[in-house]
Amino acid sequence: MSDLEEYDDGSSFGDFLSHLRPYPVPPGFRFALLYAAGGSILLLLAGLAASALPTSQDLAGHLAIGAAPVGSVLELFRAPSSALVFFGVAGLMVTAAIGIRPRVEGAGVLAALTTFGVVAGVWAAVGWLIVLIAYLTTLVLWLFVVALILGAGAVASRAEWGMAIVMVVVALLLASWLENATSDPTTTIGAARPPERSQSVIAPPSEEEQPRHLPPAKPALTQQRIAVESFMTSEFDAWHELPYVPPCDQTTRSAELVSFRDILTLMRQRLREAARYDEPEAFRQVSEDLERVDSERARAFTDPQGVYEQFGRCPSAVGVMVFRWR
């Protein structure tokens, strides 16, 4: 350490200091750097892999069973993805900094980066393994259907018609259930339950871009419009929480929600025009329809089966509105 030679002033202490040297960096340090760089890259890749894990919504259309719980577990695995990416990038920078000026004191950081990289890699791998297992489970169920049908054929060839029919019926029931389960993004086996808001496949009504060169809206009506639009949004959200019970199914529900969204979009456009051209009547119409929708939802929420039995149709936001939105 050349800068210590200045302490060689003839004293014992100075002489001692001039002979002190920092621990040299041994050749093996390069491998430690390589390991740490690998660990950092692994952190980065693990973060990206974790962020790409499917959500409950992604799984709902493909898994016959367990989409919701698997989605919840995957949420846990996906949670640290941003942090992993951040630490991966930071780790690469730290490794580069230590590599530029090698110091034994940096060894602990290098070891930590390597270890965390491996842990992160295992973390992401386990997450994807869960996805694989979930998909394989559904695949196995479908294969079971195929096996049942083939088995029915084999049994029928021996003229055991009863058994063949039973097997075909079981296969069809299982296939029907699988088809229904994988096409229903919000329900699980045998249970109709309200989906989480974040799982909705129906996008909320979008804000329309305001046309240019239009007269300015009246402030009072603008305030009223904002209030009504807020009500629309909350009502649309609330309909997602509505439980659907047989015979109403997800197909009916999805179509109904899409229609509702489209009508809300038309309502928004109408309200903006009405606010500009001072047409309070439009506000009254929209408010009346929304009140009907709200009442229908409240009734369907408490007694969904009763609504169907009384009106012969599934609970519907669109169905209770006066027909003027198309």
Binding site: F13, F16, L17, Y23, P24, A32
Partner: protein, 202 residues
């Protein structure tokens, strides 16, 4: 850091003259930069190289800095950068001992003329080797984990045992130390002040 100095004579008290010298040349300058250096021993002037083999095993070597056999074998006395900076600050503050005594602890029995064990030359090689071993163990544990995901217990158990074993190894520390000595002219006794020390891992 608690380092047992094998030459310590706790029953010997410094004379007022030695106390004054210690205060003026070592303790007071160190206090000015916030260092409270402890007086750890008062001894007869030691030989240039002292070697002790304590009953619990290992070897202690204490030598004046210019005759330290370990430093001579290694070509220099190696210390952590932070410790070098600290010692340099003490020197700059005016700490001026008559002699510097360097102590080394070696595992196993060592005699003058024996080579300094290659594994300790330099000691930080062992640190990096250990680091590499830790990194390799981490990578291996990760691979094992993925390989034996179905039998999760075996892979993790083996990795844990290996890791604990390495930690146990790492817990064996060697303690180099540096003492600054002030000699009292009348009695010839030397008061030794602990200037610094650190750990080495075999």
């Amino acid at each position: 850091m608690q380092t047992l100095i094998p030459w310590q004579q706790p029953d010997v008290q410094p004379t007022p003259a030695l106390e004054r010298q210690l205060e003026r040349r070592v303790l007071a300058p160190a206090r000015r930069i916030g260092e409270n250096l402890p007086l750890v021993a008062i001894t007869e002037p030691p030989p240039p190289v002292s070697i002790l083999h304590p009953p619990q095993g290992g070897t202690w070597i204490a030598a004046y800095h210019d005759s330290d056999p370990v430093a001579l074998a290694r070509g220099a006395l190696h210390a952590p950068e932070a410790e070098i900076r600290r010692l340099a600050q003490l020197h700059k503050a005016g700490v001026e001992p008559d002699a510097i005594l360097v102590g080394h602890q070696l595992p196993g029995r060592w005699q003058p003329g024996d080579p300094v064990p290659a594994a300790y030359l330099p000691a930080e090689v062992a640190t990096v080797d250990r680091l590499l071993a830790t990194q390799a163990a981490a990578v291996s544990a990760g691979v094992d984990f993925l390989r034996t995901l179905a039998g999760i217990g075996a892979g993790l158990g083996a990795a844990t045992v290996a890791g604990v074993g390495q930690l146990a190894d790492a817990a064996v520390l060697l303690d180099p130390f540096v003492l600054g000595g002030i000699t009292e002219p009348k009695t010839g006794l030397v008061g030794w002040v602990f200037l610094g020390g650190w750990d080495e891992r075999p």
